[in-house]
């Protein structure tokens, strides 16, 4: 094994430089501890993002695809999705999946933290919305969030920047919501509507999910990381962690990782923080077997990898006579509706969903290719007529449904598939619950209803969107009971007192909104708990 001399032990070792890893690195800088982050990917170069190139659309189907199995880049690891109707999506680089996210930036709602008390299902979180509120505010400021205050579906909040333009498309769909008397509101977005802290405002390029050339989208490589690095955090890229190691006392004492040249290296640390996301973190914990932890690290509860939650998505696409310019403006952020967010027993399911209105099917190539795949836009003589009806004339409303935790939905290690370093790939075993199926069906019908009310002349249905594993949650859940959770209320493993988890794995329930704002607020909260408990960090 090649333990290079540069690998001096550190105080805090963070694994993963994505949404949560960046936030906690920044948070811990004031401790002046020696903090190192190992990240399997590299720095992105914004001048090389697809939207700077003629073939910007084609790249979204290749090196900038949202699915790591399609991208297949060196930084990626394969994911076995064959036992799941939903594919896991991610991005592996400094910034993690925020490089590829749409930056729709809602917070979980207060009720999301109290689902057992309010609705008698799953479990309450050991933290509340009010506990996280100051961290939401702090995170909004650092990521640069645009939005409109006053949404009656939330306790009062004030985004630091005014909302992004909703455009004609937003107006038209809002008209549908208004006609039905349903709630709607402009999306909060981690995208700048105005110049902010040295970053320029959004240019409405559209494909936010292949990286933002303008730097208006708040990915953590341009928000948290520069600040954390200036404050002394070291970030070592192209280092893929294979396992977390333990000493004879059962405490984590570092990791084994592969560097850019494929050499096996050792990094020792006093504290290890996992931030590899809801699939990457259980993968590494399950791969960290030792005599003390034969079933994987921090897994005495047997829950590491279990309770995987996505946000299953049903999609209604409205086709409008009017040209709506839907290939312009941030793809994922326009308006939303929380009309069906809170539980109503008359609907036949518990919990609810967020209706997210997005800006169409993308540019011309994406319109043609996706239309071909769905059978909607043919090749040959009928192509142009159908293409003209679709391009810039379609709007999508997504029902982003709350998934409840179930132990049968899980991440395990694939016995055969492995990444380029030979580390076993994650295998996803997932099925939709009856509750989720009912919610999806309800969401699809309501999506169609709003499209009709908005004046769509035709509506296309997608009952379940397969490439929708954007949100990876629940696989190392928080809780107070060590038999029923993996980490405590501030992210510390019940079994290994110097091991923390700060990514989406710790979610107890999924809520019905995109999770990154909450993931980062939690990471900041955990950072503050670590700082507050430094003197007795490892005590019971």
């Amino acid at each position: 094994m090649n333990a290079s001399p540069s690998n001096e032990p550190v105080d805090v070792l963070i694994i993963g430089a994505g949404a949560s890893g960046a936030a906690i690195a920044w948070s811990l800088t004031e401790t002046r501890m020696r903090i190192l982050c190992l990240e399997q990917g590299d720095w992105m170069v914004s001048s090389q993002y697809p939207t700077t190139r003629k073939n910007w659309e084609a790249q979204q189907f290749g090196a900038f695809h949202v699915d790591p199995n399609v991208r297949g880049l060196e930084a990626d690891y394969p994911v076995n999705n064959t036992d799941s109707p939903i594919d896991v999506l991610n991005f592996n680089a400094v910034g993690g999946s925020t490089i590829g996210y749409a930056a729709h930036f809602p917070r979980l709602h207060p009720s999301d933290f109290r689902v057992r008390t309010l609705d008698g299902v799953a479990d309450d979180w050991p933290v509340t919305y009010d506990d996280l509120e100051p961290y939401f505010v702090q995170n909004d400021r650092i990521m640069g969030v645009s939005g409109l205050a006053g949404d009656p579906m939330y306790p009062p909040k004030q985004p630091p920047l005014p909302p992004l333009p909703i455009g004609r498309v937003g107006e038209v769909v809002a008209g549908g919501f208004d006609r039905l008397g349903w709630h709607w509101w402009p999306s909060d977005a981690a995208i700048l509507s105005q110049p902010y802290e040295g970053r320029d405002k959004c240019l409405n390029l559209n494909p936010c999910m292949s990286g933002c050339s303008q730097g208006a989208k708040g990915s953590t490589d341009i928000t948290y990381w520069p600040q954390a690095i200036r404050a002394g955090v070291k970030l070592r890229t192209r280092c893929r962690v294979r396992e977390v190691t333990v000493n004879e006392d059962g405490m984590a004492d570092g990791v084994i990782y592969y560097d850019a040249d494929g050499r096996e290296c050792v990094q020792k640390a006093e504290v290890v923080i996992m931030a590899c996301n809801g699939v990457g973190t259980p993968r590494i914990l399950l791969n960290s077997k030792s005599p003390q932890f034969p079933d994987g690290l921090a897994n005495r509860s047997g829950l590491v990898g279990k309770n995987l939650m996505f946000h299953p998505v049903a999609l209604a696409t409205g086709v409008f006579e009017e040209r709506l310019d839907t290939h312009k403006g941030p793809n994922g952020c326009c308006i939303l509706s929380k009309e069906f967010y809170e539980t109503d027993p008359d609907r036949g399911f518990v919990r609810g969903y967020n209706m997210q209105v997005t800006r169409g099917a993308g540019g011309p190539l994406a319109t043609a290719i996706r239309g071909l795949a769905s059978g909607d836009i043919p090749w040959g003589p009928g192509h142009h007529e159908k293409f003209r009806q679709r391009f810039d004339h379609t709007v999508q409303v997504l029902a982003v449904c709350e998934d409840l935790p179930e132990e049968c939905n899980r991440v395990t290690l694939d016995p055969e598939l492995a990444d380029s370093n030979g580390i076993p790939a994650p295998k996803i075993t997932y099925r939709l619950s009856e509750n989720s199926k009912k919610m999806l069906a309800h969401g699809l019908e309501r999506g169609k209803e709003v499209m009709r009310a908005a004046g769509a002349k035709e509506i296309l249905e997608t009952p379940l969107l397969r490439p929708s594993g954007w949100h990876l949650l629940g696989t190392a859940r928080m809780g107070t009971d060590p038999d029923r959770s993996v980490v405590n209320a501030w992210g510390r493993s019940h079994d290994v007192k110097n091991l923390f988890i700060v990514d989406g794995s710790v979610f107890v329930t999924a809520g019905g909104v995109n999770p990154t704002s909450t993931i980062q607020a939690l990471a900041l909260y955990i950072g503050d708990r670590i700082k507050a408990n430094l003197a007795n960090l490892f005590d019971d």
């Binding site: 993002y49 697809p50 939207t51 700077t52 190139r53 073939n55 910007w56 659309e57 084609a58 709602h109 207060p110 009720s111 309010l118 919305y129 409109l148 006053g150 009656p152 579906m153 909302p163 333009p165 909703i166 455009g167 004609r168 937003g170 107006e171 809002a174 008209g175 208004d178 709630h183 709607w184 509101w185 402009p186 959004c202 240019l203 409405n204 390029l205 559209n206 494909p207 050339s213 303008q214 310019d325 312009k328 403006g329 929380k338 967010y341 809170e342 540019g363 011309p364 190539l365 043609a368 290719i369 071909l372 090749w379 040959g380 192509h383 142009h384 007529e385 003209r388 391009f391 810039d392």
Partner: protein
């Protein structure tokens, strides 16, 4: 097909079949505003943006007989459909390339109302949109539970 003679890798027969194949998968629009894909310099696109596809393209062209270009459009459509049925993956790759070259073309972009070239740095402007009906939304009062 313009500039077809620059395609040193293709025989004359292959070039003619390519031209007919392009015209089959994307013929000109009936109103004449959108060109046939045969009018786009597909080979220049391949050289510049997808050189790896050239060898596969030749293999695809050789699946069609020499008389393919002489057939009617509807007959060519039938034959291309046969090809798509026999090798769906290869057909999808071909279509992806044809569409990609087509929808980057200036004339095509102008006809569909898209600006050619990369979106950055010019970007797009979009109207702020009317938010006035939010007053009615807020008037309905608080909608969250604690």
């Amino acid at each position: 097909m313009e500039n077809a003679t620059t395609a040193s890798a293709c025989t004359e027969g292959q070039l003619q079949r390519l031209s007919a194949l392009l015209d089959t998968v994307l013929p000109a629009s009936e109103d004449g505003t959108l060109p046939s894909a045969r009018e786009i310099d597909f080979l220049a696109y391949l050289r510049e943006q997808a050189p790896d596809f050239q060898a596969e393209l030749i293999g695809i062209l050789d699946r069609f007989d020499d008389n393919f270009p002489d057939l009617t459009l509807s007959r060519r459509v039938d034959l291309v459909r046969d090809f798509s049925g026999s090798d769906a993956a290869a057909f999808r790759r071909l279509l992806f390339r044809v569409y990609d070259s087509y929808y980057q073309n200036d004339r095509v972009c102008a006809a569909i109302g898209a600006r050619p070239g990369p979106p950055f740095p010019n970007g797009h402007s979009i109207p702020a949109g009317d938010l006035s009906s939010l007053e009615a939304v807020t008037a309905r009062g608080k909608g969250y539970r604690r």
